[in-house]
């Protein structure tokens, strides 16, 4: 495991930003599996959802072809399950501006370089919800059901929320 991650792209925000792309011109198609770390993620307004789409030739696929299933882990209540089909994006947790409210995500990207099969992502992470005083997570994964190669992700918030200064996005290739 030691020394197996190679940084391909990073965006550490110095100003508020509505969308963040990882990959695109910095994508390296020589890897089978990619890892994305999103750290210290905040929005500039409350109750917004952390969303993302796959990039195809540098542009986000916005079609209603994303399927997903998540386990909703939370410290304050019984865990939930949610599955969705034919969505226009994949999603994480709700985040905003409250004290301690920062999202952290670990994503693994599979089969992104294959133009004749679907691409998929495994998602985990942890966020703090000040409304329930609880740590929360949408743990699971999603698939874009389109035979298409992909070269990164576009991150965005619901309701046109902006990512706050200090939010960190990093893309790694997993070296053989």
């Amino acid at each position: 495991m030691a020394g197996s991650l190679v940084l391909l792209d990073e965006k550490i925000l110095s100003s508020t930003t509505a969308t963040v792309d990882l990959g695109a011109s910095n994508w390296d198609s020589s890897y089978d599996v990619y890892q994305v770390l999103v750290t210290n993620q905040r929005f500039d307004a409350g109750n917004n959802v952390f969303n993302y789409r796959f990039l195809a030739s540098g542009s986000p696929n916005e079609t209603a072809n994303y399927d997903s299933a998540y386990r909703l882990l939370r410290a304050d209540a019984t865990y939930g399950r949610v599955g969705s089909v034919d969505q226009t994006h994949l999603r994480g947790s709700v985040a905003g501006t409250g004290t301690g409210e920062r999202g952290n995500y670990i994503l693994y990207l599979y089969n992104f370089n294959n133009s004749s099969e679907y691409s998929s992502v495994v998602q985990k992470g942890a966020d703090f919800d000040p409304n329930t005083n609880s740590v929360i997570s949408r743990t699971g994964g999603g698939v874009l059901t389109v035979d298409e190669a992909h070269n990164g992700l576009r991150f965005f918030g619901s309701n046109d929320a902006n990512f706050q200064v200090g939010t960190s996005f990093k893309l790694y290739g997993l070296k053989k």
Binding site: G3, A75, G100, K124, G125, F128, N133, K170, K175
Partner: protein
């Protein structure tokens, strides 16, 4: 080729090395990394139990206050799943398994997010696995937060009794 998973520390306790009441990893977090990856293997003791953890502050003190929240899902081959959780307690619990038999030792992979930032809570995301010799296999999915904005420099791992063996490795993700 330069890579971005950088080894920081390893602690090994083997069967001939006596026992430790807990695994203490001091001064492993720094301004150099935002995210850390910790692996634990051969987690063994004389009592079957759960791995639980506390953080270490900038004065090298283990944080024992009710400042932790966590949610863990325990998956069992021999029964229904169990939800271990708390919004305010003195540790992160139900992180993985401490096995008591020779073949029952546990393992765990754990990410720690943003510990050294004095203006942020510290978060954890992990998975664990083990074998409960009288019943079957157990798996864990864990998330945690330390709900105080302060600098964190280390972490401890605990169980119900002395550890008889373990291997812990800490990496920084640059």
């Amino acid at each position: 080729m330069a890579t971005n998973l950088e080894f920081i520390k390893e602690v090994v306790l083997d069967a001939s090395g006596g026992s430790d009441t807990k695994i203490v990893l001091q001064n492993i977090f720094s301004e150099k990394y935002e995210n850390y990856f910790i692996t634990m293997t051969k987690i063994g003791s004389n009592i079957d139990y759960y791995v639980w953890s506390r953080l270490i502050d900038a004065s090298d003190n283990e944080i024992t206050g009710s400042e932790y929240a966590y949610a863990s899902e325990q998956l069992k081959s021999y029964g229904t799943e169990y939800e271990g959780k708390s919004t305010g307690t003195t540790n992160w619990n139900f992180m993985s398994w401490v096995g008591s038999g020779d073949e029952d030792s546990g393992g765990m992979s754990l990410y720690i997010h943003n510990p050294y930032d004095a203006n942020s809570y510290t978060f954890a995301t992990g998975e664990g696995v083990g074998y409960y010799g009288t019943s079957g296999s157990v798996g864990y999915k864990f998330i945690g937060v330390h709900k105080v904005e302060e600098r964190i420099t280390g972490i401890t791992f605990n169980g119900a009794s002395d550890y008889s063996e373990f291997i812990v490795k800490v990496y920084g993700i640059k």
